[in-house]
């Protein structure tokens, strides 16, 4: 197949592959909202959305642009009863910081990515604790907040497996390494 020639059926296939990735992101967002009915889980519920944010900001920034991170944050704030803007701001900051360090994370082994996420998780929960405290003037106990971060770190390997599997079915992106440009051309192919 000549480069750049994409038939209608191929376009549908590419669309289906991207839908799979976005369905996984949606699944992570819903995991932050639904009632799992696990005793005491709600006190230290990890932030699954940050896992998706971290991974796709490194390996596919066009899938998780800044404006999408902002909108997801606003949505979670509205549905959770949190101050509107709290998750939005923390997600935008995380997305910017992580995508700026893509070159460092690309091609690194699992352990490096894991420690990178551990650091990001700590930053996110601390940022959310500070924002919540400043906005509401209520300083919640720090221990459950860090419990959230630690549980997120524990769940990250499972989430990473799922996102890796989804990433393999996505078409190869032809844009240069960096933030991704608007006029990215999609080249059909498998990883």
């Amino acid at each position: 197949m000549a480069l750049g020639v994409i038939t209608f059926s191929k376009k549908l296939e590419i669309l289906a592959r991207f839908c799979g990735a976005y369905a996984l992101i949606l699944g992570f967002i819903l995991a932050d909202l639904i009632a799992f009915q696990i005793p005491y889980f709600q006190n230290v519920r990890p932030c699954f959305t940050v896992m998706a944010l971290f991974y796709w900001s490194i390996y596919r920034p066009t899938l998780m642009p800044t404006w999408l991170a902002f909108i997801i944050g606003i949505l979670i704030d509205l549905l959770s009863g949190l101050p509107v803007g709290m998750n939005a701001m923390s997600y935008v900051i995380v997305q910017y910081l992580v995508s700026g360090q893509r070159k460092m994370f690309m091609g690194q082994p699992f352990i490096s990515v894991f420690f990178g996420y551990a650091l990001v998780s700590g930053v996110v929960v601390l940022l959310q604790w500070i924002i919540f405290g400043i906005v509401t003037q209520i300083w919640v106990p720090v221990l459950p907040v860090f419990g959230m971060g630690l549980l997120g770190i524990a769940f990250f390997p499972i989430a990473l497996l799922m996102m890796n599997a989804t990433h393999k079915i996505l078409p190869i992106e032809s844009s240069a390494m960096g933030r991704g440009s608007y006029n990215t051309r999609i080249k059909y192919g498998n990883r």
């Binding site: 005491y40 509107v84 997305q95 919640v140 440009s181 051309r185």
Partner: protein
């Protein structure tokens, strides 16, 4: 290959790569700061947006949470088999005790009615309830709240008390057409006027983002002790008087915590009490 082009108006509004770059990040951070500032000074400003979000996302969240709840029920049923025999025995004892109290309650009810008629006491109207399923548990380290599958279409209003199992759970704080958010008693923003039944002492039940809220503003000479029942006092007009809340569980340095009757960790269904707005209560500065 035909190059994909952007609409000319969009190209004028934002140059290529704008929404992926540093400028977009700074702009969105400024917007977030503005939203947070508004959340701090006027938290009610987003009520309409929240209601719309519930209406849009509620059906999806409800559908996704249903299998998890069924799984939790199954696990609970399976793991509960081992303690079932002991549970049956304790229920039989409790049933026998309650049957004795039933006759006493009938006699007391008749005496109460005749005394009220004698004193010409104005009886408060009975409340109606609507039972609903919990579809989302927004609980985390910051907020303790639930999303339930009833809203303004079901005559549920902001401020309606919510009960489950044996006692009070919280109150409705936001309503959409078909979904509402319930603030739980153990949330840090929750303040409920209560009364210690044995002493007729008033206090405020304050959430601490913990499993057990604390009693505040009770009289200094009140002799509170573990085991005393706590019920709603009805002051403020939001909660009907006499709703069971919990029992005093522990206390040190003058701070008493309350063990709630309802198990907030295992609830699947709650009842919303459809209280009606009291025309004598005027909304003031403190809401």
């Amino acid at each position: 290959m035909k190059r994909r082009t952007r609409h000319k108006y969009f190209a004028l509004m934002a140059p290529a790569g704008f929404w992926d770059g540093r400028a977009a990040t700074i702009l969105l951070m400024l917007v977030s700061c503005a939203l947070l500032t508004m959340s701090a000074f006027k938290p009610d400003a987003f009520n309409t947006m929240r209601s719309s979000a519930y209406n849009v996302a509620g059906p999806l969240v409800s559908a996704i949470s249903y299998p998890f709840q069924q799984t939790a029920n199954f696990v609970r049923d399976v793991t509960g088999l081992s303690g079932m025999q002991a549970r049956i025995a304790s229920l039989e004892v409790e049933n026998a005790r309650l049957r004795e109290w039933y006759q006493t309650a009938l006699v007391l009810e008749e005496q109460n009615q005749s005394l009220q008629a004698l004193l010409n006491v104005k009886i408060e109207p009975a409340y109606s309830y609507v039972t609903t399923r919990i579809i989302s548990d927004s609980g985390n380290a910051f907020v303790k709240s639930l999303l339930v599958k009833v809203g303004s279409d079901d005559d549920v209003r902001s401020g309606n008390p919510v009960v489950a199992g044996d006692g009070l759970v919280g109150r409705v704080v936001n309503t959409g057409a078909s979904f509402s958010r319930v603030l739980l008693l153990n949330d840090m923003n929750s303040r409920v006027p209560v009364m210690i039944e044995e002493l007729d002492q008033h206090a405020i039940l304050a959430g601490q983002n913990d499993t057990r809220p604390v009693l505040q503003h009770s009289a200094k000479d009140a002799e509170l002790s573990v085991g005393m029942r706590v019920v709603t006092s009805g002051i403020g007009g939001y909660f009907p008087p006499g709703l069971p809340v919990g029992v005093i569980a522990e206390g040190e340095n003058g701070i008493f915590k309350v063990q709630l009757f309802s198990d907030l960790q295992k609830m699947q269904y709650v009842r919303v009490i459809q209280t009606h707005e009291d025309p004598n209560l005027v909304k003031g500065v403190l809401q």
